[in-house]
């Protein structure tokens, strides 16, 4: 399989695009239309929209302005995350032009809902995003519940990974909260356990990508199929094309655009 470079677009306040640090939006960097055009023109492999306006919200809504921009600008795969809590919400996203949805809150609250969503739209269109952190003096990563801003001590990351796969998810995004927005490198410490965990579905990693080398360091893993990143594309000179070239030179099979 070709490895994927996936820019994330964090929406805050309608169609304003923000960067985040440790899962907290901190700086607006543009508007959605401009960001979609930029990433599509730069030949990224996929896009992920994370709508923070509705993340964790009991009422799902996918704004019309957002949908019309996606339909207008995007001819590559695009996924949506933010407040999806039912099969109906997920089907709304797919009908609207998204190829995949990512679930977090509903996975944490009611795993069976993930199965219901996968039954309707297919597991290949159902992703689970697992934000995680490590406690001080503890090497074990745990899922982090962004709504309560609390580590879920009852839910080690790798248990959650297996639960998501068994529950019908077709892809899992492992998101390192502490590295988010730092540009200090992805969590390579996770790789040995990931390699040994015998997970069959694709795994993506996010949080901390600051250089092309950071990306290739995790894409060398046979398990990691892609890297999701935001700040690197706004704060450095790197583009999906430059990262892809670097990875190819490192012997990693990448897409031919």
């Amino acid at each position: 399989m070709k490895k994927r470079i996936i820019p994330s677009i964090l929406l805050r306040g309608g169609t304003n695009v923000s960067l985040s640090q440790q899962f907290t939006p901190w700086r607006t960097v543009g508007a959605l239309a401009q960001q979609l055009r930029l990433h599509v023109r730069r030949n990224c492999d996929e896009l992920l929209i994370i709508n923070t306006d509705f993340a964790g919200s009991p009422q799902f809504c996918c704004p019309q302005r957002l949908l019309s921009l996606v339909r207008q600008e995007v001819d590559i795969p695009i996924a949506y995350a933010g407040g999806i809590s039912s099969a109906t919400d997920a089907a709304t996203c797919i009908n609207a032009g998204f190829d995949k949805v990512y679930l977090t809150s509903i996975f944490l609250d009611e795993v069976s809902a993930v199965s219901a969503i996968a039954s309707l739209i297919g597991s290949q269109s159902t992703g689970v995003c697992l934000p995680y952190r490590r406690c001080r003096n503890d090497t074990v990563p745990y899922v982090w519940d962004y709504r309560a801003a609390a580590i879920r001590r009852d839910l080690p990351l790798f248990d959650a990974l297996h639960t998501a796969a068994a529950g019908g998810a077709g892809e899992v995004l492992l998101y390192d909260v502490d590295r988010d927005g730092t540009l200090q490198g992805l969590d390579i410490d996770l790789l040995p356990e990931l390699e040994g965990c015998r997970i069959a579905i694709p795994v993506l990693m996010a949080g901390g990508a600051g250089t092309a080398s950071d990306v290739s360091a995790v894409l060398r893993s046979t398990i990691v199929q892609g890297v999701v990143a935001g700040s690197i594309f706004a704060l450095t000179q790197e583009t999906p094309a430059t990262i892809r070239r670097h990875c190819e030179n490192a012997g990693i099979e990448m897409r031919r655009p």
């Binding site: 399989m1 599509v40 590559i76 579905i201 046979t222």
Partner: protein
């Protein structure tokens, strides 16, 4: 005229974008449409085999599609739309497909070096011998030098390997990425989501 089947859940708007950008004359397919053999039915699809077939049966579109093909009309299926062109799928045992291409769909074989679902960009492998028919993916289709976007867990296993017009590499061997039989064409990957290469391929097929 291109008629697009608009499932309750499908990639309709991705196809709509392509058709709009390329100025194709199209409309949503209705069972009451009077089709001519010059029309092309586009059959997209996301979801499970049984949901797709249930919808086609309940709306009367399955009969319409079969009649259209019998009359010499063309059908192009994408992703689940392609899988429904076959007779059955192990995803939904006991559910009949359209049966326009003999064979069935099966889960992609598990492999340590190949994650399933198959999600992402992959190269197409063309059969060594290209058959002399319009739907074959020859060099002019632009498929040789680019990758295309796949997102699926099941794969077509046509009875005749001649029906496979393109394949992708799997550790167990080549698996079908595109199928065709006379005026019936199917793509497992998403040309409408594969950037300019995908648009060029659709131009080639729909021209």
């Amino acid at each position: 005229m291109i008629r697009v089947v608009n499932f309750p859940f499908c990639n309709f708007y991705s196809l709509e974008r392509y058709l709009r950008i390329r100025s194709h004359d199209f409309q949503v397919c209705s069972p009451s449409d009077q089709l001519t053999s010059n029309d092309t039915i586009l059959l997209p699809g996301v979801g499970t085999f049984s949901q797709g077939m249930d919808y086609l049966s309940a709306t009367g579109l399955s009969k319409m599609i079969l009649a259209h093909v019998s009359a010499g009309g063309r059908v192009v299926g994408i992703c689940l739309g392609m899988q429904m062109l076959l007779e059955a799928s192990s995803e939904s045992p006991g559910v009949n497909g359209l049966g326009l291409i003999p064979g069935a769909c099966e889960r992609i074989p598990a492999s340590a070096s190949f994650s399933v679902p198959h999600i992402g960009w992959n190269a197409l492998v063309l059969p060594a011998v290209l058959h002399n028919s319009v739907q074959q993916l020859g060099p002019s289709s632009g498929v040789s030098n680019c990758d295309f976007y796949f997102v699926h867990s099941f794969v077509a296993r046509p009875v005749s390997s001649d029906a496979i017009t393109a394949a992708f590499q799997h550790p167990s061997g080549l698996l079908a990425a595109a199928v065709a039989k006379e005026n019936v064409i199917g793509f497992q990957f998403h040309p409408e989501k594969s950037g300019s290469a995908g648009y060029t391929l659709l131009d080639h097929v729909l021209s």
